[in-house]
């Protein structure tokens, strides 16, 4: 559990490419950013981090609609290094 390899894995970080759309992009004043997270982080973890660190991110709901690598994703979806995570305001196509 505390082997050299285990410690290395526990401290590994991943970089997630975040994208924001429509009202969220307007509120945050940006439409993308890179976010470093611990390995094993989920969509919900990444949203929590954004809400804690970004100015005005309290405008994001706790559980926004999200997509990972261009497919709808639940909050417990695990993230991997290089993933694209998009936060989607309520959909209004048509």
């Amino acid at each position: 559990m505390h082997s050299r390899d285990g410690r290395a894995a526990a401290t590994a970080t991943i970089t997630v490419h975040c994208r924001f759309f429509a009202r969220y992009a307007d509120a945050l004043g940006r439409d993308e950013m890179a976010l470093e997270m611990p390995d094993g982080a989920t969509v919900a973890d990444a949203v929590g981090r954004l809400r804690d660190t970004l100015p005005k991110a309290d405008l994001l709901p706790e559980r926004p609609l999200a997509a990972v690598n261009r497919e709808h994703a639940a909050p417990d979806t695990p993230l991997a290094d290089g993933d694209e995570m998009a936060l989607l305001p309520p959909l209004a196509g048509g």
Binding site: R19, F21, R23, E71, A86, A92, G93
Partner: protein, 135 residues
């Protein structure tokens, strides 16, 4: 065919995609920009999309429709950018052996599109103001 377009939707072209002499019933659904009432007259709607995902999600919807209604033909397009009042922003065409299947399949595709496509609309009013519209 592209599921997303910045040009006016060409329904004739969509019909051309599904025409087949084994398909006796064809249903066309067009969703158009309404004048609106509650907040004043809507001059246009500006449609914004997560384009890379919207195209692939529309593709998944049509693929699922083809599994549900084997033999049916489908074509669909969503317009992006500014769509003036009265013009269509989305079109879904379903052609099947008989009208009941065609109506059912067309209804299913437009409902899925409304629920799943990452597309947003900003209403522009006649007085120049604008706001995101969420349904």
């Amino acid at each position: 065919m592209d599921y997303l377009t910045r040009d006016p939707i060409d329904v004739g072209r969509l019909l051309g995609v599904v025409t087949d002499d084994g398909r006796g019933g064809t249903v066309v659904f067009l969703g158009s920009v309404r004048r609106g009432a509650e907040d004043g007259p809507v001059a246009a709607i500006d449609y914004d999309a997560y384009e890379e995902m919207a195209g692939s999600e529309f593709d998944r919807i049509i693929a699922e429709a083809r599994e549900r209604w084997p033999g049916a033909g489908f074509a669909a397009q969503h317009r992006l950018g500014e769509v003036p009042r009265g013009e269509p922003s989305i079109a879904v065409v379903a052609a099947a052996g008989h009208r009941a299947e065609a109506f059912e399949a067309c209804r299913w595709v437009i409902d899925e599109a409304k629920h799943r496509l990452p597309i947003w609309k900003k209403e522009r009013f006649d007085d120049g103001s604008e706001r995101w519209r969420e349904e």
